[in-house]
Amino acid sequence: MPDCEYSQAYLVPNPMTPNSAIIFDPEVCTGCNKCIDFCRTDVLMPNPIEGKPPILAYPDECWYGGCCVGACPTPGAIRMDHPLTMRATWKRKETGEFFRIGMKNPPPPNLRPPVVE
């Protein structure tokens, strides 16, 4: 018997790259589908089950415009990730620390809003 449980093996196509682009939190998303009608590249589709998050049908066509996130009336329901090939880096001037988008332990968020919301 193996020490750990392996996941069941299925014959499936390769993961799409970029992998995810848009991620829904099914606990928070109400399935209002407003994001679907803001997406300019038509990558989001309604879930056949009402109230469930939209389906990201075409992550490879996402333009990373963030219009979906901007349209969402429920904070935390949807987030966008830049592809791993396009994540910015910065340095904290005082300490010289290295940071980048998508770290496991990021620094505390800076929530100052832009000039106009």
């Binding site: 014959l11 499936v12 196509p13 790259t17 970029p18 682009a21 009608d37 803001f38 997406c39 300019r40 590249t41 038509d42 589709m45 309604p46 879930n47 056949p48 049908a57 075409y58 992550p59 490879d60 066509e61 996402c62 333009w63 990373y64 415009g65 963030g66 219009c67 996130v69 901007g70 966008m80 830049h82 592809p83 090939t85 396009m86 910015a88 880096t89 910065w90 340095k91 904290r92 001037k93 005082e94 940071f99 980048r100 988008i101 998508g102 770290m103 990021p106 620094p107 505390p108 968020p109 800076n110 929530l111 100052r112 832009p114 000039v115 106009v116």
Partner: protein, 663 residues
Amino acid sequence: MLGNTTDLQNIGRIEWPYPVNYGKENYSEVDLLIFGGGLSGCAAAINAAKRGAKVAIVDKGPLVRSGSGGTGIDHWHDACTGPGSTVTPEKMVEWYLNTPYWGGKFTMAHQRYIQAMESYDALMDLERWGCPIRDMDGEFEGADFRDPKTRLMYAYDYNQRTCIRLKGGALMKPLMKAEAERLGVEIYDYVMSTSLLTKDGKTGPGATVIGGTGFSVRTGEFYVWKAKAVLVCTGIPQGLWRFSTELNGASAFHWDPNLTGDGHMMLARAGAELTLMESNNAWGGNGGFRYPMYGVGDWSNTWYPCPIVDANGKRIPYVREGKEIEDWDELFENAWPGFPKSKDNITPGGLATLPPDLPERIKKGEFELPFYADLTAMSPHERRALWGLMIGNEGKTNYPVYKLYGQNGFDPDQDMLQLPIFSPDDVLTKPSWVGTRIPQWREAHRTSNCAIFDWTLKSTLDGLYVAGLMTANNYGAGAHATGRYAARNALKYAAAVGDCELNRDQIETEKERIYMPAKRTNGVGWKEFKAGCARVMQDHCGAYKSEKVLKNGLKWFDTLREHEMQKLYARNPHELMRVHECYSQMVCSELTIHASLARKASTSTFDFKRTDYPEVDPPEWDKFVTVTINNGEYVTSELPLDYYLRPPYSANYRENYDKYNAL
């Protein structure tokens, strides 16, 4: 399972979530039909509707956020008639004509004049529609770039005052959509426009445009519009040389990925002339090595003039005309537009840059990579203007850069955003986020690849008008200016033109063409087809062009059309849109090759080099090459560079503007 990958993908598939009804016709009759719902299309729609016209506007995406400026704009150009401006429209036009990067002698100067005359008026319209422009709450009180009286904020050149920073540019498009709705504009979101309908179904020079067709990318339903006048503002063709969604995804586009040249295809098929189709280069922001727009350290455009430091914190100076700039205020004097001193036609004149000898200085060890944009070294107002006003309003920055980076802990008061790492020879690439460019990944130059149009913004076909990027205008301000101007003229024409019937044969032929791929479920996928077409352009229409190679490119497209294109399939209306985008791009590629063949000389104004005609700028080639389709064949022609100042027009810009502005 038949062993085909699409079979594997088809297992567990779910039904298309919208009610599909291929072939069902929807019909509407309007005064003005607008294809393209970006800034110019929306500005046109609003300006037409407020004059009482019945208007339909059609876009592949949602009007609320569609178009190159749909996700926001940070600054507003060429507001020559605004308060405090020291640059006249005439002077602005002169600058364009002298600046190769923005057009040089190939500038569509009549359109630039229209922009300079109406940019400020269009801005005031926006303000009336609810878009915040001025710094009313005084957040930037005391800043050099803010006029205390008007509370307008300026960018680049704080004396010339032609470029205005927008307080709420990210809100522009939703506000314009709301205004269009309020005025009763018929809005067709998620509908792809596919063809222009013409009188008696006749296409070619002399045809008259009387409507258009499209289909819904959700339901697949067909749309037919009869219109007194049609305005096409679908942007410039993109992605002809490069396609990959397996690296960065479709985000490897600077401009709106919906800009697939649909309008150019429609114009050519109707017989309207296009020009500067041979102008393309590897300067744009669409390569596979790019970063999020404005989302990395930079020193140009929106990021001008953020202090740049090297890996050890050493300042890299800004330089103008060979002189290091020490005084911060100097960076904003004679900066924009300024007359270009540099022969490098990538660099617009006036703005200071990093030192031209920076590559050598890195190689010698004077400066060490990586470089950082030291926002912390800016004054609080300038820092907040860059990160909060510009980044926050500019396209794709409100959430994808400003908020997302903030969520990840980025703080401009403490942090220095790293510039992309370039090899030293490429370190002066700007804007930095375009990444390393390679000659094979070319793109239509953004102040080219336009229609031939007159002082009313009419194309070479009656009933057909153009605006925005289709007039070689690459600014949000220009999109508005040309949109509102074209709408007025289109309405003037619509009021006088008689009624006529649509040609049923033309509609049926189009319907059959549109739905053909939806009858197949297997064959050649659109992605591979698109990539294949891009490969043809990379090989046959690259940095150095020649007749034999260009002609082989045409043979490739001929054989693609007869073979692989006939196997394109669409398993749903969204895929059908992508298939038809492939078709638009093929036509645009062919237009590009034909125009390239016709220009039998190299030029320095745009990146056009022929190994078989290496002479650069022989005077007899100071002319436009035009291209269109007539009787199923691509045909090229010529026009003088100043055709818009020759009879029947005046040689004077202002006289022409006053006569043709339809105000």
